[in-house]
Symmetry: none
Subunit: 402 residues, 2 copies
């Protein structure tokens, strides 16, 4: 259980917090008796932080539950992903670098194939390759509708994201994918009378899109899924009194950070050192830095154990630049586990290192790795506890009760 009113305990301070997230950090040994990716990596700097600080392991959602990246980050930011749902349409849009603001409606689109009678013969248009799908998305950009603006971007293969912006739009709409072949795509139907105008607009958009796609051999139709809008999360500034910045290379993570009101800083390059340089430059302007390293996850998903090890080592090598800034609290962790052995996100707890020279109670672990974290002084905690711990160690929380 997480203390549910951290905001009420806030007290002013000038301390600085860095949350360094290596995506999918947690791993597994490839063979029985072996080491994990993090345990294999040579990480002298992190090992020193582990010796001086405290280790633990986090559950992003709960025991046995494998999180997507969206919910996993929400949890690290202290927003319960079981309570604050970020809709599929929003995540899809964020993932390709489109922002979704209050009042916008975002939706995920799938190209599909229909026969002459209009019934679906393939719900994914034969998983049309990206290079064939991208030009189709370009064509759909031509569609204009009265009173709203439209933004569309290709995601991958048959998938794209669409954002509609305008006055009085609502996301309470039924999906148009009938979830099976042999029937026609469904119309966009409003779940409430207030959403009828939005439904009508999306139906008009679909009609225009079908005209444009009519003569395509595979992707001659489309379905829309997961209508959603900005989840209206309380901004970091209000919730934690932190001026917060996001330093990330991939759109999805900038997007999730923007949902909680972080400033998104531009990164020139994409190495850990490039990202740390951005922190260096902006150091005086913010109280909280979220730094996101993507490639640990990418190589985990590829099953490339050695490449994941190498990314961790480049982070460690670059770390002195960050440490020279003298953060008051530095957390080094992942959002979830992505063991190369499983080639996917997993439910395994995530290594967690909390370093805070003035305030941390050190444990007896001196090496950053899964086994050490399982024996760390912090124990096993839900990722939701990370923000309260960060604020406390930064001396930004006052006493509860007299």
């Amino acid at each position: 259980m997480t203390y549910n009113n951290i905001t009420s305990l806030l007290t002013p301070a000038k301390t600085k917090i860095v949350l360094l997230v290596m995506d999918g950090l947690g791993g597994l040994p490839m063979q029985a008796g072996g080491l994990t990716e993090l345990e294999t990596a040579k990480t002298p700097n992190m090992d020193r932080l582990a010796a001086e600080g405290m280790l633990g392991q986090t559950l992003p959602i709960d025991y046995g539950v494998t999180p997507g990246s969206g919910p996993a980050h929400m949890s690290l930011f202290g927003y319960d992903p079981q309570k604050y749902e970020v809709g599929r349409g929003v995540l899809e849009a964020l993932g390709v670098g489109m922002y979704v603001h209050s009042g916008d409606v975002a939706v995920r689109g799938n190209f599909c194939t229909v026969d002459a009678s209009g019934v679906i013969t393939d719900r994914r248009a034969g998983r049309i390759p990206t290079e064939e799908a991208m030009p189709l998305v370009e064509k759909l950009k031509a569609i204009q509708l009265p009173g709203v603006t439209l933004e569309i971007k290709h995601v991958k293969e048959h998938r794209f994201a669409l954002v509609m912006r305008g006055e009085g739009l609502l996301p309470d709409l039924e999906e148009t994918d009938p979830q099976r072949t042999g029937v026609a795509p469904l119309p966009v139907v409003a779940k409430t009378p207030e959403a009828e105008k939005t439904a009508e607009l999306f139906n008009q958009w679909v009609a225009e899109a079908r005209k444009i796609l009519a003569d395509q051999p595979k992707a001659n139709c489309l379905t829309l899924r997961g209508f959603a809008t900005d989840p209206r999360l309380e901004p970091f500034k209000d919730r934690y009194n932190l001026r917060a910045a996001c330093v990330a290379v991939y759109p999805m993570y900038k997007g999730v950070s923007s949902l909680v009101g972080m400033d998104i800083l531009d990164v020139d390059g994409e190495t850990p050192d490039d990202e740390f340089k951005v922190v260096e430059r902006a150091w005086n302007d913010y109280d909280f830095f979220f730094i996101h390293i993507k490639k640990t996850d990418s190589y985990g998903e590829d099953g490339n154990f050695d490449a994941k090890v190498h990314v961790i080592e480049t982070v460690d090598e670059a770390l002195p630049r960050l440490l020279k800034l003298n953060p008051d609290v530095l957390i080094v962790t992942g959002d979830h586990s992505t063991p190369a052995k499983l080639k996917s996100h997993s439910w395994h707890p995530v290594p967690y290192l909390l370093w805070a020279p003035d305030t941390v109670r050190p444990d007896d672990q001196n090496c950053f790795g899964e086994t050490a974290c399982a024996r760390g002084g912090l124990g096993t905690i839900n990722s939701l506890e990370s923000m309260p711990l960060a604020l406390a160690h930064a001396q930004r929380l006052t006493k509860f009760g007299a």
Copy 2:
């Protein structure tokens, strides 16, 4: 907290899970500085599994709470015993091998002694010995009532269980035990108008029973407690998409398993090896096997440390038969602790071993015992987390969120 909608994350798989429960497994050293029953037992097979797998300790209910066998198993099966109450009448009936189906009303009966004026002089009929009580229960079998069928079985000493079956029966009835001597047993009173017919039937049954018992020296009357019906638990198949089988020797455990829709397999003999042979034969027909070993608990209750140690050793010796089947997930644990030192169930956490060659993250423990489990990678978890963990390690759960 346990993730509250595991069903929504299910994904098809052909993997197999074995839950091996040694009842009352957790123990205590008899003297300061000594070892527990499990630590004393020679368990080379379990120690190997511990080295390859992950250890932890479970709380069946919560810190300091000693569970009965019913709630302890409910928790291991993933049904919160604080939420899904299995009434005392149902547990008593299950405990003597009677099934309680939807619409049946089960109740626990106590023989008592009343004086000539009808007031209770002994609420337990002097704890009448089993051999004297059994013939009385036989006599009560003669009672017949219109429109319902009745099943009655002796439990132990002054206790028996009664199940009434028929149309329109409801368990919303007040107990008849006044909880003190010097007053008459209470009538069966309906708590709702709909239950009045059932109350009337039970009152008729009590009247008939009192006639039969009238000339008994001690057990000349009775009280009824804990009216209850089938708790209508969601079956394992619906909740977890698992075809589940129970391999147990004692009625109570078959009963609790039947409440969650497991198939109950017949066991020829009662050694661990006899039970494992049943699993061997049924291996292809099920995805989940619950195997229950009773005697660890029985000897714990007797205070027989050495005999409990020996039972654990016979389980370990038989284990290769189970391992040869190549389960994807094997959990070895208890439902609760029954330290021989205390001669009773206790609140102490329960040793828990999770072995899953393809997916487990091993910790640095290599010996199955209470001290090792307290230092295991899994930490201390509620038993409710066992099913999500089993499903995750069997790769039967998909991602939460995108």
